[in-house]
């Protein structure tokens, strides 16, 4: 609580105590009026002052003015009726102030919580000077300087490790809880937390250009891009208050006049009282506060899960996604070659891989590399002899004294063997051992482990169409599409074709639906820009992707797309709940007030209650862990 809030709290308590005490003092007439007025002024003097100033500045429909008018009106009625019942007016003011206090406290608190959640800003960098560590502002560190990151500290600037070994916690950046190991020579990204060892890092970028600065910039500016719901609310608030005031005026004048004309008693007090009740309900605060707070919490929660949404408007569009278009390589697949199958082998899988990896051990071809990776153990070069590379065919070598041949069909034919053709998609490596055909190994770009699951989950959450675009060959594309369960696939596309394909898909979709394009941001920036929502994956460190997309997934797990859509839907759900709930309760109160069923007490309780519930509901958008 800040000073302002504390003073307010004290005023509320004093006024409330006075009310309790006054109810036991049988003061009458002028004395009673004066005593109650003191309680009234203690809690509401600032409102009255603000109301006066508002009128001076031409701000007639100011909420302070309305509260002042409503309470002053109620006091005037009490004097007119000689009832001496000032409690109602003071209670209205009291509850109004309690509501305002709660709002400012709760909003301030959640604002702080959310910003803390997103706070990955490093405060300093350690620079070594004369053998001593000196803490400096990260802004002052030049490119190429050497900084030291101790265990427990944040990496302040992007760079390369020149000395040391450690594990990094990247969860603030990616939402991934598994720590990442780093060695000498590896790039590390600012914003991650060094967990175990001391690292010496040569900076590669300035602080302002480092990942952490870019992300902070993006997240902090996100809530400045207002969504349509927010615009709707600020427009609504602008119309709502004057409309209710005019209604109140009509309510105060019309029925009594009609009564008079038709010869019945005018009942001015009744209708003026009902009109004053209207004024109490006229403040649009619950709406105006809870909608931006919901978006803010949604964006905060998402960024904590490694999903950066660039604006409330994108969160809104994302929630309407019905078509998801994927780029294949690097998005649904890993983009690196891996052993993907071993068929017709006469040895065990491991043994066949071992033969192939050893035979190919002297080659640095990507395919040989992938075989060596699949083997996974240290390669003992002494076991390999007489390596002979036959260009365009493969490799022949002696492994443990046995002649081994690895290569394509041609190599097998050359050796007089009959290779078994493969139905799988990819590069096929046939292996012959000791003059016999020993099977073949399929090497291809592997699917990400979660791709199929993600496609299925997307369909489960109501996507109408999952489309895959790729520059790859038709055969590969169709096989990938079949495995993953993608609905439509377009292959052999150039980057420009992808844009036009997405444009066609956008034209075809129904109104009110949106199309999301998911890419890795490497060569599909134009497509990311063209789609209703461009989602860039695995974007850590790739500036182009961060620039071009609307939603940035910090790691490259396709399941995150599902999560992003779920988060956006939850957030929009809360936004709509708050809109409907707040407007609904206000309308009901207005109706009940007009009919004379609701009195001022109910009106103020409804007003403050709706606000409290709406604010608490808005904060719910922050919790996205279990989506």
């Amino acid at each position: 609580m800040n000073r302002k809030q504390r003073i307010m709290l004290i005023r509320i308590i004093i006024s409330a105590l006075m009310m309790v005490i006054l109810s036991f003092i049988p003061a009458k007439g002028a004395l009673r009026f004066i005593l109650y007025m003191i309680a009234y002024l203690v809690v509401g003097y600032d409102i009255l002052l603000k109301a006066g100033r508002g009128i001076a500045n031409g701000q007639v429909f100011d909420e302070c003015f309305l509260m002042a008018l409503a309470t002053a009106g109620a006091i005037a009625l009490a004097i007119y009726e000689k009832s001496g019942d000032y409690t109602e007016a003071i209670a209205v003011m009291l509850f109004y102030q309690i509501g305002e206090l709660f709002q400012s406290y709760a909003v301030g608190k959640s604002r702080k919580n959310i910003t803390e959640l997103m706070d990955i800003r490093p405060d300093y960098a350690n620079v070594e000077k004369d053998g001593k560590l000196e803490k400096v502002d990260p802004d002052d560190v030049e490119i190429g300087s050497v900084i030291v990151v101790q265990p427990g500290e944040k990496v302040p600037i992007d760079g390369v490790v020149i000395e040391g070994y450690s594990t990094l916690n990247t969860s603030a950046l990616t939402g991934e809880s598994l720590p990442r190991e780093v060695h000498e020579g590896e790039e590390i990204i600012s914003g991650s937390i060094n967990m175990t060892g001391l690292l010496r890092v040569r900076t590669e970028k300035e602080f302002g250009e480092s990942t952490v600065s870019k992300i902070l910039d993006l997240v902090e500016n996100a809530s400045s891009r207002k969504s349509r719901s927010e615009d709707f609310i600020s427009k609504f608030a602008r119309v709502y208050t004057p409309a209710v005031c005019i209604a109140a005026l009509l309510l105060a004048l019309l029925p009594p006049v009609i009564n008079l004309l038709s010869g019945v008693s005018a009942m001015w007090e009744v209708w003026v009282y009902r009109a004053l009740t209207f004024l109490v309900i006229s403040c649009p605060c619950a709406l105006v506060i809870s909608i931006p707070l919901s978006f803010f919490a949604g964006i905060g929660g998402a960024s904590n899960a490694g999903i950066l949404v660039k604006g409330s408007n994108y969160l809104e569009t994302l929630s309407k996604t019905k078509i998801v278009v994927f780029d294949k390589t690097g998005t649904l697949t890993e983009g690196v070659f891996e052993v993907n199958g071993i068929h017709h082998n006469i040895y065990e899988n491991e043994k066949l891989i071992e033969f192939a990896a050893l035979a190919e051990s002297s080659s640095s071809h990507p395919i040989s590399k992938s075989l060596q990776r699949a083997y996974g153990k240290e390669i003992d070069r002494n076991r390999v002899k007489d390596v002979e590379e036959i260009s365009g065919n493969g490799i022949m070598a002696k492994v443990d004294g046995l002649p081994v041949a690895c290569g394509n069909d041609k190599l097998m034919c050359r050796l007089g063997l009959d290779p078994v053709p493969c139905h799988s998609i990819g590069t096929i490596i046939h292996v012959a051992v000791d003059g016999r055909y020993a099977g073949h190994i399929v090497i291809s770009d592997v699917l990400k482990s979660h791709s199929a699951e993600a496609v299925k989950a997307l369909k489960n959450i109501g996507m109408k169409k999952i489309v895959m675009l790729t520059g790859d060959s038709k055969k590969v594309a169709e096989s990938v599409a079949r495995t993953l369960g993608v609905d439509e696939v377009y292959s052999e596309l150039l980057p420009a074709d992808k844009v036009s394909k997405v444009e066609t898909l956008i034209e075809e979709k129904a109104k009110g639906e949106s199309l999301a394009f998911v890419g890795d941001g490497i060569n599909d920036a134009p497509v990311l820009g063209r789609a209703d929502i461009g989602i860039a994956m695995g974007a850590m460190g790739s500036d182009a992707a961060i620039e071009a997309s609307d939603v940035v997934l910090m790691d490259d797990d396709p399941m995150k797309i599902v999560k992003a859509i779920k988060i956006s839907r939850k957030c929009m759900g809360i936004v709509y709940q708050n809109i409907v709930f707040a407007i609904g309760v206000k309308l009901i109160c207005l109706l009940l007030g007009a009919l004379g069923i609701a009195n001022m007490w109910l009106a103020i309780f409804a007003d403050v209650g709706v606000m409290i519930i709406a604010v608490l509901n808005a904060i719910r958008a922050l919790f996205v862990k279990n989506l």
Binding site: N57, S104, A237, V288
Partner: protein, 72 residues
């Protein structure tokens, strides 16, 4: 040209009022008030004197919401 200023304002409705007031100020092309981050992003008209415009923005904001502050 766009520039971001820190502000201090208590309620969201007041923030909207400030946004309106700032937009109507001469020399301001557009303005967004971000209540959550307590920031005001002002887009100035070409060739306007930023400092003078911001003084006017502050005065106009104070007119609609006395408790607010714009840190220039």
């Amino acid at each position: 040209m766009k520039k971001t200023y820190n502000i201090d304002v208590d309620c969201a409705a007041c923030a909207n009022k400030m946004e309106d007031a700032a937009r109507k100020t001469e020399g301001v092309n557009n303005c967004t008030v971000n209540f959550m981050m307590q920031r005001m992003i002002v887009e100035f008209e070409e060739g306007s004197d930023r400092k003078a415009v911001m003084e006017k923005v502050r005065a106009n904001c104070k007119k609609v919401e006395r408790d607010c502050e714009v840190y220039i």
